[in-house]
Subunit: 656 residues, 2 copies
Amino acid sequence: MTVNHADLANAVRALAMDAVQAANSGHPGMPMGMADAATVLFTQHLKYDPQWPEWPDRDRFVLSAGHGSMLIYALLYLTGYKKPTLDQIRNFRQLGSPCAGHPENFELPGVETTTGPLGQGLATAVGMALAERHLNARFGDAVQDHHTWVIAGDGCLMEGINHEAIGLAGHLKLGRLNVIWDDNRITIDGATSMSTSEDVKARYEASGWHVVSCDGHDAASIDAALRAAKADPRPSLIACRTIIGYGAPNKQGTAATHGSPLGTAEIAAARETLGWNHEPFEIPADILDAWRTSGARGTKVSADWKVNAAKAEGYAEFLTWLDGSALKAAGPALKAHIDALIAAPQTVATRKASELALGAINAAVPNTIGGSADLTGSNNTLTKGLGTLDAANYGGRYVYYGIREFGMAAAMNGMALHGGLVPYGGTFLVFTDYCRPAIRLSALQRAQAIYVMTHDSIGLGEDGPTHQPIEHVMSLRVMPNVLVMRPADVVETAECWALALENDSGPTVLALSRQNLPQVRTEAGENLSAKGAYRLRAASAARKVVFLATGSEVQAALGAADQLEAAGIGCDVVSMPCWELFDLQSDAYQADILPEDALIVSVEAGTTIGWERYTGRKGLRLGIDRFGASAPAEALYEKFGLTADAIAKAVRGKLA
Amino acid sequence: MTVNHADLANAVRALAMDAVQAANSGHPGMPMGMADAATVLFTQHLKYDPQWPEWPDRDRFVLSAGHGSMLIYALLYLTGYKKPTLDQIRNFRQLGSPCAGHPENFELPGVETTTGPLGQGLATAVGMALAERHLNARFGDAVQDHHTWVIAGDGCLMEGINHEAIGLAGHLKLGRLNVIWDDNRITIDGATSMSTSEDVKARYEASGWHVVSCDGHDAASIDAALRAAKADPRPSLIACRTIIGYGAPNKQGTAATHGSPLGTAEIAAARETLGWNHEPFEIPADILDAWRTSGARGTKVSADWKVNAAKAEGYAEFLTWLDGSALKAAGPALKAHIDALIAAPQTVATRKASELALGAINAAVPNTIGGSADLTGSNNTLTKGLGTLDAANYGGRYVYYGIREFGMAAAMNGMALHGGLVPYGGTFLVFTDYCRPAIRLSALQRAQAIYVMTHDSIGLGEDGPTHQPIEHVMSLRVMPNVLVMRPADVVETAECWALALENDSGPTVLALSRQNLPQVRTEAGENLSAKGAYRLRAASAARKVVFLATGSEVQAALGAADQLEAAGIGCDVVSMPCWELFDLQSDAYQADILPEDALIVSVEAGTTIGWERYTGRKGLRLGIDRFGASAPAEALYEKFGLTADAIAKAVRGKLA
């Protein structure tokens, strides 16, 4: 028997409904509805090699509608990836199976990005498509010349991030980005008409996209649409009209297929409807062979690429970008920068200090990509000679992201996950809230995105409480796998940048001051910020107090310590740029920094909740546990009791 | 001399440039660019009464581009509001002046909502416009019949939230919402063409909006556009082509006017260009008179309204909605509900418990407005008989917000700020990240929005780490002025709902379980959750341990206590549904709950950072400090050591 398109697509459907049923949880509707489109994509268009999932010039495929995870697991298995095995699919959503409820990039090669939080897969894909164009501009077609494909659902399109993502992609004319929209007109609550009246196609056209439509259950129609998408120089939306749960005769087309097993009776009926007369998890040999043959097409393509790419000028350098070794040049550059600072100390805002560090980094490291969400001059993220990365010049290294914090962060994730590039981007620290869902995905996906978050406290002054972060530093510290750094001066800022570049398994958030800060580090030596916290100044008089301060408040703590020492009260001043790194130090080191017999006093212009971790319940926590106010910075530091005078007074009160 | 339009508008411009100059910080460009449009709006269209800012049927005016705060301060002063005074404007951005860097709703009557975080003003206005239609449907034209006007900038339109907001408004056909877009083609980084290529008008049309254009410096053109907007039954975008910093001859039309004082030389040149030959902060008497006369028009209108509204059926009830007294019926209803639970205990998920409580509340209280961001069946937010609130039935009480978490939260703020309604809305707890910027504005604005956040831990199971909140409860606790509640059973859930309804000066977040939880509260009595934490079970054997647990982990702590008590280790079990309320209790109460001589053990299926606040450094913190995993809930509780067995074992280890 000849294997036809329906056989191939039905294999996907069968695995999806069987696995969801076995797990007794999951989402069968989307994989069954999109099986035809995905089959056409994977057998006729997508460039990939199951034997070499890391092939640098593979097409990137992003399942933005991540709840339909069984779609990609089925495809990876059928096309011949080593993982998942059929047993792993049988264990869909069970502890230890790489076939997690939502696709996780760290579980399976072939899963390019973790998806599930709606809208972010597509927004991440924008970054991948941008990375491709940049690498293409730098290394040429022989090295980098691929497409980025996305399957997205109505949820991905309704989320706010979609607007930012497609606005950015349209502006940047990322023609190699093609989004297949699973237009099934169903959401969890019911018909999409319950909550939206939008003309999606017109909206995409308004954002500079090419739009093409197809019948999502007609292979020829799908194929024609994908061809049209590839041919058009704009990013493309392929509106793919589908029936959710296609093949389940009684439930298809309804929200009932979205997020629950179909049930054994409906699955039996679906088998009949689809003409799929095979046992659960059984894929007939001829159908599996046809899938595997299709998957094997890529092996020659990838081999040819390897030969041709290796001949390309710059290929050796390209490899250093991919393996991260290009970043190593930052070390000596930053060391020289710090040596110069020790020789000639500078009083600058740490945002300016970040610009100085970036000047050294960007000159030494070729594969950083900078940017800001419309705050370039405030975030100090642009250094000399980077050039604008836009549709006119994909070889530039600086992206004007526009007023799109979340879109920027998701695009940074996409660049980091694509490989070859290290993105950093800026906004005000208070707007980490706007991009928080993407920072979480940086952390979960272990993506090296570097967030340059300036105006990190009431020190920003007059803009007032909407712009003054109070809880933000702490709210990022509680997020797993994020390095949160709040440097105290120009030297610590350079040290923190060095650590951010070394932190290749997750994001780093740099919290930077608007206001000038004197240089408190004046001696050459090791990277003290790497310890997370270190004794900046030891007590002269008998030690009774240990100040534990971060960022701009280190200066205030030093001032308070001066006053207390003058009264015979010995004070250590510890600068603590990074909790996470301090927590990794030995017990002995931690005990030395935080002695039991001293009053531990935390000083940070933000929430005090959380500082008990280091001060204990009996220590003193100086900070701000309410929203800020609009006034010049000096007036606010007075008001909130974070001047040297007020700190010294509070400590005296506590000791009394 | 006759006062003309230009005189009126130039008074706004002069105050804006003078105040920014005096403060030496701020944003003159937007007020100067939008002075003409705002003058036409306030003198010819807006329904308001400076003598009665709280007039329930006033038009709502939202300055979504909040950085242009001097625009509204100037307008409030000129039209005759009691505040701000000219002195307060002179003290723009200084400590104690109500003329804060960004407009704050709690500083000045006439400022309807705090703006500054871009895009949210417009999204909040959607909620105001929805509230107006709902109240109109319930009480009629004589009581409620007003417009909602917004001034928004390019930033507001580029932010993702804009897509959610206009999608919702277009779907709901909120024709009384009119947005004046300050189309000045400038952002902070420079020309909008650097970062966007969107056809804004086409996008709004695709979302079901009416679009009209005008010359933003031609009063007749502006007036015609505003008339067209009012006449059209759809929400309207008024594309108002302007020159940023209009009148400053050397800087207008450039980003240089956006966020910095113009400088004395340029201000002098602007005075000349505008023909404004008056001292700083001086408004000539005839011009001020003309403004005040215009502002006084509303006094008769509001007086007439008062007479007519008072005759309307239901007016007395309307007043109880406005002053919050309608909510009081919830108390007895919830008491009866709890009594029934004591009589016949129930094992249900706390999300289901929330539905049960809501059933009692919504039946007793007429002015709650429910909803969910497309997770109605999962969030359990819909109770019987509410009816769908949509364009076909503005009198319904349940909103299908679609997959728009941020848009939902902003709309809830708008409803709460409008007055008369108490909104609640649901999504998964993990997606508090998506609406976090709006939760922050609920808190800052003291808006009573109630967030029903379900699936509050690894207990959601198979959906895996993208859907499992780890850090979310703690990250909300560190935000000022938010009540974060994680009830342990069906009774505590009802208690927490009672407290949420009483908390009329800020938001409440309810963190609710997906999984069933046994009823641990079996005795009638006071609302124990009001204490924040209380002793659920006292030790039998000599007390060595105090468990401090929340939500679903209270059950596990009770199980562990059983085991330890059996071994002679006395354990108190404290349930702690709300940190913020516990922190308000007396020292004596707190000391009684957290005795010095016991090992304090926190148990919560989330980050342990922060729990040192109650356990001290030497206590034990059981929780999860990494991302979750995809597996059935029971398997995850095993894996993360949060079963009764594992907890008991950890405590024994610590005591050993």
